[in-house]
Each structure stands twice: as structure tokens, then as C-alpha cells.
């Protein structure tokens, strides 16, 4: 226990969050490189494989995430204005939308699974190399993204309780701000995943 632990530096915390976000973006960056290379090598297979995905589900999930990003950003304004009730509602809406996103994802994956398309499945192996890679990347990238949604939900849940207990206030809100930053990062990743898997056919 050093005397410095009581030291508070919100700007430092925010820089730290940004740096962490960079590492997260580059983590996905590695997968985007793999995607780019294999798409370049198997253009036709990727074209046909993408048509197998449920575009409506993709659009719906995009809308959910965009709205949730707006609500979490607005919850910060609410905290700044000392409108605690409003802020709680806005964070709760965000959490709900995040959970809905996961539910959709679950239905979507389950559907693929039901059709015998999952990593290492026999049906997938029959389809050919390009399809194996496309669906491999699809499961890996959306799976990793879903994992980040879960982490984001956990951070925002903590923020929700802190707002409720008045630990996040108009004079000390860096936790909510950082949680919001993380959530927006998850949103940005999806903004790229969506066209790459569902739209470019």
C-alpha cells in the first residue's frame, strides 16, 4: 500500500483506456489481416459463402448496437447534468440492447449449427477450402466480438451500480466514460464486421 494509491488522475485513466482500446483494435486487426488475405485468395468462395448468412439478422444487430452506443453516450450527459434517474434508464437500455444482440447472435449461430455448419463439421469440409475459411473466420470474428460485448456489458453493469449508489457523479464519472469508450470500440469493430461478412456478396 503506497501513499500514492489515493492519488486520482482521471485523464491518466482515460489515456490508459484508450491505449487498451488500441490493443483490442489490433487484436481484431490480426483477424482482419487474415480475412483480407483469404478473401483475396478465394474471392468466389467468399462471395457464395457470404450469401449463406442471414442479412436481416446482421442489419438488426447493427441497428441495436448503434442505438446502444447513442444511449450510453447520452447516459454520460445525464450524469454530468446530475440526472441520475435518466442516466440509470439510459444505461439499462444499453445493457438490454447488448443482451438482445447476444440473443440474436445465439439464434444466428444456432441456425448455422442446425444446418451442420460449424468449425470442423463434415458438411463444411465438403463445401471446399474457401467456405471452410470463410466460416472459420465468421465464427472466430463474430465469436470474439460477442466475447467483447459480454465484457462491455460487465463494465457497464458495474457502472450502473455505481451510478445507483452515487459513486459516479457529475464530479467523478471517469468509470462511466471509460465504459462508454469500450462500448463504442465494440461498436466500431461491428461496423466493419457487418459489411465484410453480410454485405459484400
Amino acid at each position: 500500500m503506497t501513499p500514492t494509491e489515493s492519488h486520482r488522475d482521471d485523464v491518466g485513466a482515460k489515456i490508459g483506456m484508450w491505449l487498451f482500446i488500441f490493443t483490442e483494435l489490433l487484436l481484431f486487426g490480426g483477424l482482419f489481416i487474415v480475412y483480407a488475405v483469404y478473401r483475396y485468395k478465394n474471392p468466389v468462395a467468399f462471395h457464395f459463402a457470404a450469401e449463406e448468412l442471414n442479412r436481416g439478422m446482421g442489419i438488426l444487430n447493427t441497428i441495436l448496437l448503434l442505438i446502444s452506443s447513442a444511449t450510453v453516450a447520452m447516459s454520460l450527459t445525464a450524469v454530468q447534468l446530475n440526472e441520475r434517474g435518466k442516466s440509470l434508464i439510459l444505461i439499462s437500455i444499453t445493457l438490454m440492447l447488448g443482451v438482445l444482440f447476444l440473443v440474436n447472435k445465439y439464434i444466428e449461430w444456432g441456425d448455422k449449427w442446425g444446418h451442420g455448419i460449424y468449425p470442423g463439421s463434415e458438411k463444411l469440409l465438403e463445401l471446399g477450402h474457401g467456405e471452410v475459411l470463410f466460416f472459420g473466420l465468421y465464427f472466430a470474428m463474430t465469436g470474439l466480438h460477442a466475447l467483447h460485448i459480454v465484457i462491455g456489458l460487465l463494465i457497464l453493469t458495474i457502472a450502473l451500480f455505481r451510478v445507483k449508489r452515487n459513486r459516479i457523479t457529475s464530479s467523478d464519472y471517469v468509470l462511466l466514460e471509460n465504459g462508454g469508450l469500450y462500448w463504442h470500440m465494440v461498436d466500431i469493430v461491428w461496423i466493419f464486421l457487418f459489411p465484410l461478412f453480410y454485405l459484400i456478396v
Binding site: E5, V11, G12, I15, L19, T23, I33, V37, L133
Partner: protein, 544 residues
Amino acid sequence: MSSENHSCQSNYLTFKGKYAGVWGWLFSTDHKRIGILYLYSILSFFIAGAFLGLLMKLELIAPGSTIMRAQTYNGFFTLHGITMIFLIVIPGIPAVFGNFFLPLLIGARDVAFPRLNLLSWWIYILGALVALSSQFLGSDPPDTGWTFYAPYSFRTGTNMLPAVLGAFILGFSSILTGLNFIVTIHRLRAPGMTWLRMPLFPWSLYGTAWIQLLATPIIGITLLMVVAERTLKIGFFDPTLGGDPVLYQHLFWIYSHPAVYIMILPAMGIISELLPAFARKPIFGYKAIVVSTLLIAFIGYFVWGHHMFTAGMSGTAQFAFSFLTFLVAIPSAVKVFNWLATLYKGSIHIQTPFLWAASFLFVFMIGGMSGLVLGALATNVHLHDTAFVVAHFHFIVFGGVGYAFMAGIHYWFPKMFGRMYDSGWANTGWGLFFSGFLTLYFPMFILGMKGMPRRYFDYLPEFHGLNVISSLGAMLMLFGLAIVLINLMRAARRGAAAPDNPWGALTLEWTVPSPPPVANFIDIPTIVTHPYDYSILQPKDLSK
């Protein structure tokens, strides 16, 4: 200098906090205690890794199987590589000296996120345990080499998953340390310490931290893909499923080449601290060294392809990567010239840390220049994957990082432990180590030029003579190493009390008592001068 506050506070070693005894260490958020935790863990792993290296060298003392089976040998060089790279040289200097001295050097009470710092150490230990569990759980120990090249890493029946997972976990520790250092340097410099008044070791840590942040995630995701490949058969890199093994190499080296700079930049930082201190004059070309540090960090990110010149890349890629490899040599050369110029007209105190620093210059020059032979396309084709590469790598990484680490520990030991070591034994150990080192690795350059491939359990009779010399060198070097380490361990317990500033150095860590008090500084100092402004000392102080 300002040592009137000696008795005001208990020092960090004896301080009693919330937890007593060993728990007071394992759960301490004091950056100094965490630095010592890293020191002990890294040294233990290093002794184990060095011993594995010795066993490998003994195996190679004669062709054929001498003391072990091929499977054991392949397991040993894999474990040697994983331990040395992921557990020792990548965290090495930043985790030990960075943690201990970064706040002291910039006039801060701790790093920006002390609890995160402690978490990094715990993650490090967890990663180490997971990686090492590969030796004891399941089937044979992994035998892929530390590079985990696809598709062999999917084919081998050995227990390589824990090793990969361990490396993945260690990446987190590295990222969090880097993040912590960047924020610390941005936010916690003492008043008056502008960027250009910051000592060079913090500068090198800053450059390093950025590479840690921007490169480590790539290896993280790559290793996760290997795990997914092995467990779920996704087909990222498996040619039978359409994957491309060469893409694995790209991703692996996108991290692992910058990782070499994660290793060497802090080493360069330590040397840049030591040479002015022992020559009693400012570092020559402070700005040039800062700029070269940042350039190395940046260009070093884009030379990874030089590990793949025989892998069948496109001609354009070969051209570009070879070209950039030569460019990145320039800032390193500039550093060497500046270090040499620092000694010019100095007043050189030839003490143990200086011996290590001077021998660093020598081995680093050999290591760096042999890198030029490997950077050229035609000669690389001949030398790639031969003993030459192994020699080059050990000159740079062991010669560079190892010597700088030794220089650093002998330099800062009095500050860290408040005690002094026996310099007679320290110098003897250095002499034996240095001669053993050259005898061990220099013959491997020639072996490589003659065409002996690396990772060979057995070799043709024509390579015998040089291998014998090399193996004898290994024994000599480890003998020297044992003397060095035993000397230090004895001093940590029983050495004579060290003064606050035994070397007459100027940076801030020498203004606090040895060992430093818990809060580092009674009052945070205000900086008004350049860190190496030795002109402020009177001549009579200089000759002390």
C-alpha cells in the same frame, strides 16, 4: 546530495504494510517491491533456461546421440526458446528495472496504476506456470521450437497447447506493463521535467511500451488462432483445409520482430544511462539518441519479412523488407557512434557496471553487424536457418539484453538492496563470462557459413571441431555466470552498506537514500537541468 531524510521513513524493504511477511511482497503495489518480485522470478527462470542451453551444448559436443535422445533435444530447444524469449528477455529489463526505476528516474511516487502493475506480475506468473505445465501434463513436452510454425504445430503429438496458451497469457502482462509505463511517463513526470529533460532509460521504455502495445495483440490473436486450429480444426493455417502456413509466419513475425526491439531498446536505454555516469560527462547527442530510439521502434515494425526470405514471398516484398532492414541499421549505428563519442575526453571510472557496458558495446556491434549479413538477400539465402542465425541472435539478444541487464544490476544493486557487492569477484565473473560467451557463440558464425543448419540434434563429422570449442565455451560462460550470481546473492544478504550515490551519478534515483523509502521522495523534486549535466559538479567531486 539530498540525503537528510534518511531516518524519516522506513525503506521499502523493511516497510510493514497491510500484510506481513511474504504476503507483504506478493500483494504489494509498491513498484519497487514488484520490480524485485520480477527480478527473482526472472532470475530463477533464467538459471533454468541457461542450464537447458548448457545441456544442449553438451549434447552437441560430438555427433550422434551423446547424452540425450532426439525427442529430448527438440523438447529442450523449444523450452529453452520459450523460457528465454517469453519469460525472460521480453519482460526482462522493463519489468525489473523499468518497474523499479522508472518512477524514481522521473521523480514520481509510483507508476500510474499500481494495482494494475501488481496484476501484471500475477498474470506473468500465471502465464509462466501454464507454459511450464506443458512439460509435466499430458504427452511429451512440446517440440515445435519457440516459433510454433504451422503446420508442424498442428501435426505434432506433443503437448504444445499449454505452451501456446502460456505465451498468450504472458502477452497480457506485457501489454499492461507497457500501458502503465506510457501513462506514467505522460502524467507523472516531476515538475520541470520536460520531454527533453527526461533521462534516456525512460525514453527507451516509452518507445518499448508503444511496441508492446501495438505488436503484442497480433501475436495474441495468432496464438489464439493456433489454439482454435488445434482444437476446432478451423483451418486458418492448415494447408489441408485451405489455410496458408506462410500467413502464420507473417503474423508471427509481425509481432516477433518488433519483439526483438522490445528486448533491445531498454538495453540500449540502460547503456545510455551508464556511459555518462562512468565517464562523468553528458551523453553525446542526447537528441540523436532519442530520435533514433523512436525511429528504431517505428521502422522495426516493418522489417518482419526478413525472417521469411526463403519462404517464397513475392519479389517486391523481398526487396522492400531487405531494404528496410538495412535502413533500421542506421539508427542503431548512430547510437553506437554516440556512445563511443560519450567516452571521448571523459574521465572513465572502470568499475564493474562499466565493464559490462563496454563489453555490451563490443558484442552488440558484432551482433548488429552480423545482422547486416543476414539482411542482404543473397547472403541470407545461404545463412537462413543455419547456426549463423543462432549466433547472430544470441549476440544481439543475449549479448545485448543480457550484458545490459548485468550492467544494470551491478549499477543499481546498491540502490535496490542498500548493500554493496564484492567488485573483485564481480570483475572475475565478468571476465570468465565474457571469454566464455565469445568462445561459445563465435564458432557458430563459422559453422553457419559452412552450412550447418540450426535445430540439429545430430551433425556431420565435418562440423565437429567447432562444435567442441563452442560447447567448451558454454561451460566457461556458465562458470562465470555462477560466480556473478553467487556474488550478488551473497551481497544482497551480507554486503557492506552502500552509500546513497556510490558512482557519483546525477539522475534522480541517486538523490534518495539506499534503499529508497516507500514513497520514494519526501518532496517531489523540481527539475531545472538536463539529466546528464555533469558540469554542475566541481572537479574535486569528480575525482572522488
